[in-house]
Symmetry: C2
Subunit: 333 residues, 2 copies
Amino acid sequence: MSWSTPLGGGGEFEVLRQVFEQARQKGGVPKPGAVLIGPGDDAAVVEGGWVISTDQMVERVHFRTEWLSYVELGGRAVRAALSDLAAMAAEPVGVLTSIAVREEGGAAVIADLMQGAIETAATFGAQVLGGDLSRLPEGAPLVMDVVALGRTAKPLVRSGAEPGDELFLTGPLGGAAAAVATWEQGREPEPSARSAFVTPTPRTREAQWLAERVDLHAGIDISDGLLSDAGHMSAASGVGIVIDVPAVPRHPVLRDMAAVEADRLALSGGEDYEVLVALPPGAAEEIRELYSEAFGTGLVRVGNVRRGAGVAIRTGDGELSVVNSRTGYNHFR
Amino acid sequence: MSWSTPLGGGGEFEVLRQVFEQARQKGGVPKPGAVLIGPGDDAAVVEGGWVISTDQMVERVHFRTEWLSYVELGGRAVRAALSDLAAMAAEPVGVLTSIAVREEGGAAVIADLMQGAIETAATFGAQVLGGDLSRLPEGAPLVMDVVALGRTAKPLVRSGAEPGDELFLTGPLGGAAAAVATWEQGREPEPSARSAFVTPTPRTREAQWLAERVDLHAGIDISDGLLSDAGHMSAASGVGIVIDVPAVPRHPVLRDMAAVEADRLALSGGEDYEVLVALPPGAAEEIRELYSEAFGTGLVRVGNVRRGAGVAIRTGDGELSVVNSRTGYNHFR
């Protein structure tokens, strides 16, 4: 995901918050009038409704080249970047791709990554508008950065959730993390789990569809994991969030797992790129069936917004427990 | 610099050209109506006059941490990225920073890079609008990507140079490359050469000033080196370009060097981030003095545009020799 302030937790985010705060105190941060939404959401928004975000993938950190081809990798980087546009209910227009590859075989790697990027961007109506290329020293991990540029008449933000709102997910969670866990055990994941990691669907169409039909109060894409990203929405909106654990839709591959492992993957897995939206009570009733028909997946109620702060989970027996806001997404690890 | 097609030369650029061409032949590349200028210039331009580009810096390829502090490094990455806006005669509005750092000491490195980025962006009127952070495996080179976002009513492009035009540079060349050469010899460069590398001036104000006063036909920033970037302008405009070697303004540190070394640094050094502009004959006469007064550096005539293709250099004795369009910037190495 792209970083933003204020955030729910995590060491790097605290560092960023302090650096921005120090710069503000020095009085040196301009706020150009053309900037409608600055740092602090899934993407920035400028005049004309242009939405811009950037997303970085590093070899051996976010992926391994044994897991997917370079064409797939280029496509996945674009999908992840476009997800930030979905989180803002924006329509994709273009992407820019910065790629750093090792010298050996570099031209073929660049060609494959770019083929994947161009074709995947096209799938979502976006053109590759530019980029940059660098050679890496021998042995260095490949890095690919994708900038997503989109447009919206009414940006969906993280900060609009209100007490009483209901929370919905645009699709199931845990598939991508299940694939990664399987690879890390030295086995090949089931095809559906592999697809969840390699070709996740950025919910750009779904989010725009929802924005046209209901009063979306807030939204965020689930890149770090549901609890972590709910924490970001909670912090940005100044509200408390309750997640109903049994209600969270799970990827089919989680069905045969032990409950504790399935919960961990669904709540903290990350990289599924579904969108969590906050709606006024009852607002989703009349569109949920249409949503399923249009997109072949459910719009599932997973919790609610309340006064207060932080994220709590409600387990099957109705018990509520607070998720530590600083350790957030590590709770289930 | 940011890549673009069509381009004057270089292996990676040819790879990119082929990938784009194959995608076009498959019919899979959308051209959203809101895109005014797609890949092929220093930056893309979309409706509303928004200009967007991205620029990547890799440790041990573009810089070494022994050469400058992390605060300086963050600032330099922003300066290099903003130079693409200068090449489009655009006003800076925002930047996004993607940073990948090693685990050890990572938080302090991030804080320093971001301090440099925020303060430097502010110097040029731009706000840091977002970004991304990644941890690197041990020993991996630091990578920093900066997206520049700006605005212009009339984008300056590479493709508008016409036979008969005169070519001007916004300032002297060779200082940054001289600093790098000195570091690579294990010595510390003179302060003025070090500054040319560490704090190059993206000519955003100069380019906008010129665009308001004269009919700029074409422009490109000198990130790869004068001959290489002149090759890009030549290819994009479908014209020939002649560079008058003795006329090329040089950084003072080049004065004491052997002529062949000074020529090499001035013509092929790169990373100075001056802008090369093409103007109708005589158009510069009445503004050159004002330019010098306003910016403390000269607007210097360095060549002309003619029918044909490719780049030729005219040496002191008046002899013309053609620069190989494929090896371009290696000519003087």
